[in-house]
Structures are given as C-alpha cells and as structure tokens.
C-alpha cells in the first residue's frame, strides 16, 4: 500500500517541517561526529539551554533574546568541548559516548533544579511566536515556521558546503575528519578545528532552539531530548560517516515520523514510535552502511 496515498497534503507539509528541523539537528550532530568521532548525546541539552535562554529573556526585544540564545549555546558548546571532550579526546568512542550521556543528564538536572524553584515546571518562550501563524496554500495551512525551518536548513547546508569546500578551515576540517592523526602531523591545529566544528554545531543548536520554541513554547528540562534521540537514530540510518547522508537521515526520520503519524488511525498514534523504529530496524537490516551511503561500507569522506 502506498503510504503517501493515505495521508493528506496537510500531513505532508507538517512532515516536511519536522524533517527540516531534524535535518538541522543532524547537521550539528554530524559535524561534531565527523571531527571528533563523538556521538554527542548532549546535543539536545544545548538546544534546551538555548530555549531556556529564550524563555528567560522573553521580555527583551526579539533580536536581543535570539542573540542571547546564540551566545549562551555557543559558550556552552565551547565549555563542553574544553571541559569534557578535550580531556577525553584519546579515549575510546564508548567512553566518550557515555560521557556525553553524563553531561546530558547533568545539564538536565541543573535545568530541573533551576526551573522548579517556582513550583512549576516549564517556562514559556514566545519571542518569535508570530512564525507559528499559517499561510493558506491551496487549502493547506503552511506555518511560517515550516518555511523558515526548510529555508534555514537549505541555507545552512549550502553555507557549510561552501565552508568545507572553499575555505582553509573547511579543508582542515575535512582532513581532520578523514584522518585526524595524519592531519595533525601535517600541521592542522586540532584544537582550532575542533573548536570551530563545535561552534558551528552550537550555532545550529541555537537555530533549532529558536525554531522549536515557536511551536513548542513551554521549555522544560527534557526539551528536545526525545528529538535528539530520534535524530541520532536518523543520523545512523542515513549514514553517519558523511555529513550530507547524516543530514538526509535526520530529514528522513522527521519526515517519516510525520507521514506515519498521519497514516496511523487518529486514535492509534500511540504506536508512532513503534512504527518509526520498526522502519528503522528494517532499513538498518537492508542498508547497514546507511540509507544514503554509496555501497556497503564504502570508504567515503566523513564531512
């Protein structure tokens, strides 16, 4: 049965919006993985920190609030890299992954302690709420934030392609991703390259925070947590070894989530995660190197 035949245009539009946001998150995760070989489970907490910043500065002018969001997330990204990732750079991937779990839970717990002081959980952020309004196209409500998410994802990917292909730092990042040790021997400054990748990843996390709070204005300690888990899965499904396959994986899992949600009977969406992850398992069995990877286990550039 053609799944797309049972979903309406509205569902497809909403699915594209979700896919675009997940694609942005996938780029951020993929960038750090490419350079550090690190699956950063704490990426969602960067988004959460940005969202809380938007909430706590919601009385500020919108531009100021968004600027603060970017500043906080970038600073936190760098702090995370300096205090946690750098000392563990030579550790095994498993150790680094577990460490990111620890960082994630630490940040979440800190957020909970701060948030619950007023005996409520959740702080409203509405700095760019007008983006939640819709424009009607052929009877379909397209929220402005969907267009923004798609636009930001395309622009971000385009800029990244330019950066990686046309700049020295981009070349160094690609070299570090291909073979970190050799790149260092050839004079690539590891700290600089990694810091740059982390900053870029932080910028994308901040952008995601701004976009997510438009439709989900109540920020809580688990904000973006489940999204991060889904995107991490999407990145693996797409092919974590390459930035564009990881990004496509992020988009695909977001889009698939939206479409399956629309295809399920309206009272049965409780089975959405089961359906999505069943599909993920199927894809990984059929395409273990990644849905968008060229051939099985092909040697490819990692960013």
């Amino acid at each position: 049965m053609n799944v797309l035949a049972v979903v309406d245009a509205q569902t497809l539009v909403d699915a594209v919006g979700l896919g675009a946001v997940y694609a942005l998150m996938a780029v951020g995760i993929g960038l750090v993985f490419g350079v550090l070989r690190l699956v950063n489970f704490a990426y969602g907490q960067l988004v959460m920190a940005g969202a809380y910043t938007l909430a706590f500065t919601s009385t500020w002018p919108v531009a100021g609030s968004i600027a603060a969001c970017f500043a906080v997330v970038i600073a936190l990204s760098l702090l995370m890299e300096r205090a946690v990732f750098r000392p563990l750079r030579t550790s095994s991937p498993a150790v680094m992954l577990v460490t990111t779990f620890a960082v994630a839970f630490l940040l979440q717990s800190v957020a909970l302690i701060v948030d619950v002081r007023d005996d409520t959980i959740g702080e409203p952020a509405s700095s760019v709420a007008p983006l939640n309004q819709a424009i009607s196209l052929a009877g379909v409500d397209v929220r402005k934030v969907t267009l923004v998410a798609v636009g930001v994802a395309i622009v971000a990917l385009g800029l990244l392609a330019l950066l990686l292909g046309r700049t020295t730092i981009g070349l160094q990042m690609r070299a570090a991703a291909a073979d970190f040790r050799t790149a260092r021997l050839l004079g690539v400054r590891a700290d600089r390259v990694i810091a740059f990748a982390v900053v870029l990843s932080g910028i994308l996390a901040a952008a995601v925070a701004v976009i997510l709070t438009v439709q989900n204005p109540l920020v809580s300690p688990d904000f973006a947590l489940k999204d991060t888990i889904v995107v991490l899965v999407g990145v693996v499904v797409g092919g974590i070894d390459r930035l564009w396959t990881a990004t496509l994986g992020g988009f695909a899992i977001g889009f698939a989530t939206g479409v399956i949600n629309g295809a399920l009977p309206t009272e049965q969406t409780v089975f959405l995660p089961s359906a999505v992850f069943a599909l993920v398992i199927l894809v990984l069995i059929l395409r273990p190197a990644g849905l968008f990877a060229r051939g099985r286990g092909a040697l490819v550039e990692r960013v």
């Binding site: 569902t11 919006g17 005996d119 409520t120 409203p124 819709a134 904000f223 999204d227 009272e267 969406t269």
Partner: protein, 413 residues
C-alpha cells in the same frame, strides 16, 4: 476493772492509734495510688497526647515538586489549624517528611522505611501512582494507610496494588469523574459537538477524555473529531492541524507539559477561536505563552488560585500560603488540606489509626466535608468522585473563576 479499764483504754488507745495509723497508711496508700494512678493517667494522657504521625514522602525538587510542594504546604497549614483546636482524639497531628529526591525508587523506598521506622501512623506519598508505588508498597505491606494527595486515576487502590491496595487512597479526583464533569459543563454551555485531542502519555489524560466522550454522548452531544498525540512524540502540531479542520463547538483535551501551550497556541495561531476545554492538568497560567494570548480557554480544577474562589476557607488558605511564600500555581494544593481533613475524619470515626480500620471508614465516605469540597470514596474508587469543580476561564490572558460543575454520573470507560 481498773486494770481492765486501763486495758480497755490502752486497747482503745491502741485502736485509736491503729486507726490513725491505718488512716495514715490509707492516706499514704491513697496518695501512692493517686500518684500511681495519676502517673498512669498522666502516662495514659502522655500516651493519648502522643502525636499521630503522618509520614510524608515527597519530591521537593524533582518532576513532581509542582504537585507535592503545594499539597504539603497546604497540609501543614491545615494540621496547625486542627492542632490549635485540640487535635484528633486528644492527640496532636505531626507531619514528618522525607524527600524522595525526584522520586528515585530506591530513595523513595528508603523514605517510606525511615518514616515507618519513626512511628508514622499514616504514610502520604507523591501525586503520581508510578512514582508513588515504592512508598505505597512499603506502607501497605506493614498494614499502614497509604494516601496520595492528588493522584487522579483509579489506580490508587486494589486495581493497582491487589488485596493490600485496600489501604491505598488518593484525594485527587478520579479521572472518570473529571471527564464527566467537563461533559456536564460543555453541555451546559450549549456546546453540542466536540473535537477531542487525547494525550496518550499517561492514563489520567486518556481516562479524562474517554469519560468526557462517554458522558457527552450520553447527554446527546456528538464527537466530530478524535485525534491523539503524546508528550515527547512531537506530533501535537499534526493533531492540531487536523483538529483545526474539524468544525466543532469545543475542542477537548487533557494535557499539561509542553503539549499544552503547543495545543492552545497552535490552534489560535491558525486563527481558530473555538473554545478549548481542559482538565485540571491545564490549570494555572505558568504555561501561558506571551503570544498569542490565551483566550477562550477553560479548565476544571479543585480551586481557583486567582483570588476569586467561591469558598472562603480556600481563599484564606491561599492567603496563608502566599504569606508563607508558597503561593500555589494551580488549584491542586487544596488536595493536601483535603487529605488531612479526610484522614482526620476517618481517624475520628474509626477511633484508631489502624490502617485497615481507617481504610474501612474511608470506603464509606459519602459527601464528607473537606476543605474545598465534599469527598466520596467507594469500594471501586479509592480516588475522589462527586467533588465540585471550579471552572476557570482564561480570556485574553486573564484567568477568572466562571462557575462550578459537578459530575452527575461516573461513567464506565
């Protein structure tokens, strides 16, 4: 005779002395007895005056803190008021607390053991039945009454905990009652069609909307759309998009967390002005987005925290909480005080703090007055039904009490 008389006098004198001695001894004995009795009485009185200890395992800083802290604060005020009037059965009430630290199961169990170890007669626990389970089990396994201030499902009782669950009660409203009351309100407002958005993440949310549908259709209403979403599944916006396409007099949901503002602002951002009706989960204004302003939004709750509750005792309690720096964010705080009232009534009626006797009395509660409204329990429902709900309306970001409503039936769902 002289000798005899002397003898008699001597004897008489001796008798008199003996009498005095006997009287003295009697007095002494009496004094000893009185002292002993006095001590006994005193000891008895000391025993009688030994406090009834309520052991309260609560979450001070974790996910359940928004529910546990206000309930505990209200309970403390109520205990002070009851103690000021002489206490219960001549004994003062005393609350001993233990922080479960975000309902860590190991910590929660240790809390229960610790509280029981210090002589707690009744154990109070957190407002979620899953989180409460370690504490409840420790209490009921030792024959103690386990009470939650505001668990809102029918799980707090035998349904969840088996035979020993007879000792478990909640002073929260059972979801079926709440959904039914929402249907009564919708019908009274003249709304005849409803679109339902069910958050499937917890039983309470699902039971509320299921009960609403059951009662609303019993009353003659029609459901024109049914959508579901789940906290964390990132599908609330899709549900909103589809509900927006359904022409209904009211949209009904039961939700809190991030999905609540997403649901409300999602519909309003699409230009949809249809009234939205939520359960107690949607009480308060802490979640209100700054833009667009929340409007045409209704929620049923235990009490209005906006200074206009119809019950003077509730308003006074809120004033005291504010004075104590614990201003409540939602009406749920009332359950803490109501639970104290209910347990006190059960102790008075049972003449005991024995768990089984208290449970037996609680099951017989019919229209028992407590702060904020009447309490009913039954063998089937160990959570409250038949309580009078306050309806709060938020219009242009401003909340106010707009009336009360009571469920006429508790539907089977």
């Amino acid at each position: 005779m002289g000798t005899r008389d002397r003898a008699i006098r001597r004897e008489t004198g001796m008798t008199a002395r003996k009498r005095w001695n006997a009287a003295g001894i009697a007095l002494l004995l009496a004094a000893v007895v009185v002292a002993a009795v006095g001590t006994t009485v005193g000891g008895g009185a000391t025993k009688v005056q030994a406090p009834i200890i309520i052991g309260w395992a609560f979450d001070s800083r974790g996910n359940m803190a928004p529910f546990d802290n206000p309930a505990l604060a209200a309970a403390r005020i109520q205990v002070r008021a009851i103690n000021a009037k002489g206490g219960v059965l001549g004994r003062k009430l005393q609350i001993n607390v233990c922080d479960t630290q975000n309902n860590n199961p190991t910590r929660a169990k240790a809390c229960a053991r610790s509280l029981l170890g210090t002589g707690a007669h009744v154990i109070f626990t957190t407002c979620d039945v899953d989180f409460a389970t370690p504490v409840v089990q420790e209490a009921i396994n030792r024959g103690k009454l386990a009470v939650a201030a505001c668990i809102g499902t029918d799980q707090m009782g035998p349904k969840r905990f088996g035979a020993k669950g007879k000792l478990a009660f909640s002073f929260g409203n059972v979801a079926q009652d709440e959904g039914s009351a929402m249907a009564e309100f919708a019908w009274r407002k003249g709304w005849r069609t409803a679109g339902i958005g069910t958050n499937t993440v917890i039983v309470y949310f699902k039971n509320v909307t299921a009960a609403f549908e059951k009662r609303f259709t019993q009353l003659g209403g029609r459901i024109v759309a049914r959508e579901s979403y789940a906290t964390g599944a990132n599908n609330v916006n899709a549900a909103v998009s589809r509900l927006n396409g359904a022409d209904a007099d009211v949209y009904v949901t039961s939700t809190a967390f991030g999905e609540l503002p997403a649901f409300v602002s999602g519909l309003r951002s699409l230009g949809n002005k249809t009234p939205i009706l939520n359960s107690w989960a949607g009480d308060g204004t802490y979640w209100n987005p700054k833009s667009p302003l929340v409007t045409e939004y209704y929620a049923v709750t235990y009490a209005s925290v906006f200074g206009d509750d119809p019950n003077k005792a509730v308003r006074n309690l809120i004033a005291q909480l504010k004075k104590a720096g614990a201003a409540p964010a939602t009406g749920g705080f009332v359950t803490g005080a109501a639970a104290i009232d209910g347990v006190v009534t059960a102790i008075r009626r049972a003449g005991s703090t024995d768990g089984a006797k208290l449970a037996q009395r609680l099951e017989l509660f019919r229209r028992v007055p407590a702060l904020g409204g009447e309490i009913n329990f039954s063998k089937r429902f160990h959570s409250v039904f038949g309580r009078q709900y306050r309806v709060i309306k938020i219009q242009n970001g401003k909340p106010s009490y707009v009336g009360s409503v009571k469920a006429k039936v508790v539907p089977n769902i």
